[in-house]
């Protein structure tokens, strides 16, 4: 009976030594990958497949949910349960999956169009509700599948087929949006830095609550080099800053530069040796103030921050929902015949 599989799975199948060690290959499906050669999506898929065995979760307990767009083909390529849904709705579908079955590990794969434009509302609300779901938003700042229209994260002035004279729309910053929605885990990484990406995916998956990871992802067909000025290996040490909890915020090839706060404004200190002058990153702050300030740093004025902006503990939606069921059952009997009869009845005959 279907109910057995639902009822017997209590929340959180904890990583267990009994679970056979899986490898990357165990998470490779038999479906042919159909992204353009050179697409940044390949890197994200590869890091995900490398990371998944480390979670020590049985493959059949993992569900990937996606919407529509290039990124949303992701579930086809991971050997697990997968749901390629409709445009923008992946967070809502994932909400239903997780609320019904807290025992499952649920991932949402979305993009800047899917997650921020047509599905912006759902993204906002899953972050607010804090279901234990890991959301990876591939941000390539362009619509790829429909062949090159500007997206909600495209730079102002960007010329595309749908904006031949340049866009006149200000872009959204996904990290700022996630922080504003009260997301309990907010991070950013980049397709080019595979080590960093894999570690962020791991931390996001381990976090209990909604994890939001923005990944800068290069679309080499319609928006090639969108992040090249700071994300390519030759420039990234100078142009990106890797946020690490508890450490002074430093960047540069020798970590020679640092960051301090001047009021509410981040300030770059070049060639600074004394850590005591520098801002120390703290991902566990309940207040989103520090994370929000860091999120304002952008190319070219600042090095672009990647890493975990915020990670706080909050009760998850599904646990609270389950608790309501448990408490209601403890406080009230559940006699269906009584329920149907209601409070007031009368007898005839």
């Amino acid at each position: 009976m279907a109910n057995n599989i639902i009822k017997n799975n209590t929340a959180d199948v904890l990583p267990s030594e009994d679970i056979p060690l899986l490898t990357r290959k165990d998470f490779v499906s038999d479906q042919e990958v159909r992204w353009c050669p050179g697409c940044g999506d390949y890197s994200i898929l590869a890091q995900m497949q490398k990371m998944l065995p480390a979670l020590r979760i049985p493959r059949e307990n993992i569900v990937f949910v996606s919407g529509i767009g290039c990124s949303s083909r992701f579930p086809y390529y991971v050997e697990s349960y997968g749901f390629h849904s409709i445009h923008g709705r992946a967070p809502a579908i994932a909400t239903g999956v997780k609320a019904a079955r807290p025992d499952l590990s649920v991932f949402v794969v979305t993009g800047d169009g899917d997650g921020l434009s047509i599905g912006g509302n759902h993204l906002l609300h899953i972050l607010r509700r804090n279901l234990d779901v890991t959301i990876i938003l591939f941000n390539n700042r362009i619509y790829g599948l429909t062949k090159g229209q500007y997206s909600p994260t495209s730079d102002i002035g960007k010329t595309t087929k749908s904006a031949p004279l340049g866009t006149i729309e200000s872009p959204l910053d996904p990290v700022k949006l996630a922080l504003a929605a009260g997301a309990s885990f907010v991070a950013r990484s980049v397709d080019r830095d595979t080590t960093h990406l894999e570690s962020i995916l791991y931390e996001a998956a381990k976090h209990k609550g909604t994890s939001f990871v923005e990944v800068y992802q290069n679309c080499n067909i319609f928006n090639d080099g969108a992040f090249a000025a700071f994300a390519e290996k030759d420039v990234s040490p100078e142009k990106m800053v890797y946020l690490e909890h508890g450490k002074p915020v430093r960047f540069g090839r020798q970590k020679e530069h640092g960051l301090r706060l001047s009021g509410f404004k981040p300030e770059v200190l070049e060639n600074v040796s004394d850590d005591s002058e520098l801002l120390v990153h703290d991902i566990y702050q309940e207040s989103t103030a520090l994370a929000s300030i860091l999120s304002t740093m952008d190319y070219p004025e600042y090095p672009v921050p990647v890493g975990i902006f915020r990670q706080v503990e909050r009760e998850t939606y599904e646990d609270q929902l389950d608790m309501q069921v448990v408490q209601a059952r403890a406080n009230q009997s559940a006699d269906l015949q009584d329920l149907i009869a209601g409070q007031e009845t009368w007898v005839v005959g």
Partner: protein, 628 residues
């Protein structure tokens, strides 16, 4: 029949009576009506009720849009509708009189609160003269009572402010009406005692108001006639009062138990569907999980997600919300997941008239999605029947792994009637397509060759890892497939799966002669009016039968055969002829559409009038509200 010896007035026996309470939306008319209904139900009458509330929660006090009404018809016979026209109208202010008077039968009893007919209220209602004084009500038995003042006197000495005293005057009116129909006060008194147990002063105020109104009627000679409506002969058993939305919600809980699968109900607030969410949210102890979603799409998608994970995914809405959900309903169709979508219809299009009833989403349910998109559609006919049809919706969704649209409407949702409480033991369990893996080659797309339904492969099942999605997929493997032949095959398979559900649909029954001049065909909440009108036509000697369809896609298998036995088919609907379109298309029957699109349910006399017209017994038919 016993006559109260204390009573100076005559007690006239009647088979049926219809009463309407009308007042400002803050006057508590719904509560008053419900209490009067309960008293009659406990007394043993058959009855039907219809609330009619304004769209505004609190329109300006005393204004015409702020009038709230509640009509009840009760009888010593079988009864199917809340009555065409009230015999008694209680009007708590001039606006209530103005908006309701035209419905009162000629010579009907009109009880008004004279204290409220002051200049400011008369002006708000658009009366130049006081109708209580200018003779314009001569056609009715006017009973003008100083309800507000009398009630004030009854409450003297209680520590209540002016507003609180004013609020209890509905119970004064209720006490008066209970006397008029020779009903005891105790059902209301018991309810009030329980309801206000924590507020003794308010309890005292309500009890005093109720008794004062009752005593006033008893001791004055303003009302010359009392009425007695004897108990009806109804099937023995335990009864309760239920409206359609309650019955729908309870049916879903019952279905969950019968299927042994927990409910996940996600919904966005929308009139008149919201009460289903309210009701289900109270039943966590039955494992019911509810979610108030951020929008209609999220609601249906969360329900689909829960179905994918093994819950009973259900969403509820009204017409505008069904439009927003249509893309996701197709996702459930393509991924072959069970889904129940409740559409509690209201008057459209667009926002339309949210608090008014209509049956105008049938074609939307049938065709309102992209691509060839067959879904199972069912519709309850009475408030009580919402219970079993909700169970049917779940049964079909699980049996055919496909979306089921359940079409209720505002009339059924808010209308209520006594309901013989069913024994849950009499309902068969509900099965589903979840299976343990048996063989090595088992896949998520193993199909039942007869029904073409696939296995309900749930996450957590080892070796059934698979991908589903809205993209067309291979009939055999479920993998993405763009081949022309496959899409053709899958489209036909989806149609065949839904069409094949006819095997589980009970044969259509007919009320009346097996063959004849006219078949009146209906669906949904028009059942009461059609059944009553056809019964009357039969008494009048006409060769008329009625059939009320609960299964709209697919239709019952014997429907075509039924059509062949009648010379004409008349289809009354609260829309502009939607079922007629389907019947004409599917059966090539020259059905006569009969649409009423006023936001109000059919009156019996309207359908009777149309029957007479169709059968050539009258020259024309027009609704009262149509211009000559």
């Amino acid at each position: 029949m016993t006559i109260d010896s204390k009573s100076k007035q005559d007690l006239e026996s009647r088979v049926q009576a219809t009463v309407r309470f009308a007042g400002d939306s803050g006057d508590g008319m719904q509560l008053t009506g419900n209490q009067f209904t309960k008293t009659n139900a406990v007394y043993g009458n058959d009855l039907a009720t219809l609330p009619d509330f304004p769209a505004e929660i609190r329109a300006p006090t005393g204004s015409l849009p702020g009038v709230s009404g509640f009509q009840i018809s009760f009888s010593s016979n079988d009864i199917h509708t809340p009555g065409d026209n009230p015999d008694v109208l209680v009007a708590m202010n001039p606006a209530a009189l103005k908006t309701n008077l035209t419905d009162l039968v000629d010579g009907g009893l009109l009880i008004v609160d004279a204290d409220e007919f002051k200049p400011i209220n008369l002006r708000k209602a658009g009366y130049a003269e006081n109708p209580l004084e200018d003779g314009s009500l001569a056609a009715y038995q006017l009973v003008s009572v100083n309800i507000t003042q009398n009630n004030e006197r009854a409450l003297e000495g209680l520590e209540l402010n002016a507003k609180e005293r004013f609020l209890s005057r509905n119970f004064y009116a209720l006490g008066l009406i209970l006397w008029l129909f020779n009903r005891p006060l105790e059902t209301v008194e018991r309810w009030a005692t329980d309801k206000f147990s924590r507020n003794p002063i308010v309890l005292e105020a309500n009890l005093r108001a109720l008794r004062a109104g009752n005593a006033f009627a008893e001791t004055t000679e303003l009302i010359h006639q009392r009425y007695e409506v004897a108990p009806a002969e109804v099937a023995p058993g335990t009864y309760r009062h239920i409206n359609g939305n309650e019955a729908t919600a309870l049916g879903l809980v019952a279905a969950s138990q019968l299927a042994d699968i927990p409910i996940f109900y996600a919904s966005y607030p929308i009139t008149p569907a919201t009460d289903v969410l309210h009701e289900l949210a109270r039943h966590r102890n039955f494992g019911v999980k509810t979610m108030q979603a951020e929008d209609e799409m999220a609601a249906v998608c969360a329900a689909i997600g829960s179905s994918y994970a093994g819950s009973l995914g259900i969403t509820g809405t009204s017409g505008p919300g069904l439009a927003l959900k249509s893309e996701a309903i197709n996702l459930a169709l393509m991924t072959e997941l069970p889904l129940v979508v409740l559409d509690i219809q209201r008057a459209g299009p667009s926002t339309g008239m949210p608090t008014k009833t209509e049956q105008s989403d049938l074609l939307q349910a049938m065709y309102g999605r992209n691509g060839d998109s067959p879904v199972i559609i069912i519709a309850p006919a009475t408030p009580g029947e919402c219970f079993e049809m909700a169970i049917e919706a779940v049964r079909f969704a699980l049996a055919y792994m496909t979306p089921v649209i359940y079409l209720s409407d505002g009339y059924l949702a808010n209308g209520s009637s006594p309901w013989l409480v069913p024994s849950i033991a009499n309902f068969p369990p509900i099965s589903n397509h979840y299976e343990e893996i048996v063989n090595d080659g088992d896949s998520a797309y193993d199909r039942d060759p007869d029904t073409l339904t696939r296995r309900w492969a749930l996450p957590g099942q080892k070796d059934l890892e698979h991908r589903v999605g809205g993209i067309e997929k291979s009939f055999e493997t479920g993998n993405i497939n763009y081949e022309p032949g496959n899409h053709h095959k899958m489209t036909l398979a989806r149609a065949q799966r839904v069409a094949g559900a006819v095997r589980d649909i009970p044969s259509q029954e007919v009320n009346g002669p097996e063959q004849g001049d006219l078949l009146v065909l209906g669906w949904g909440g028009t059942y009461g009016a059609i059944t009553s009108a056809v019964a009357q036509a039969q008494l009048d000697g006409l060769s008329v039968a009625s059939a009320h369809i609960r299964y709209l896609n697919p239709f019952p298998g014997n429907l075509e055969q039924i059509f062949s036995r009648y010379k004409q088919v008349l289809i009354p609907e609260l829309n502009n002829g939607q079922l007629s379109v389907l019947i004409r298309a599917q059966y090539n029957v020259d059905a006569i559409p009969f649409g009423k699109i006023s936001g109000q349910p059919f009156k019996i006399k309207e359908i009777l009038g149309k029957i007479n017209h169709v059968l050539g017994h009258s020259k024309s038919f027009k609704f009262d509200f149509e211009e000559e």
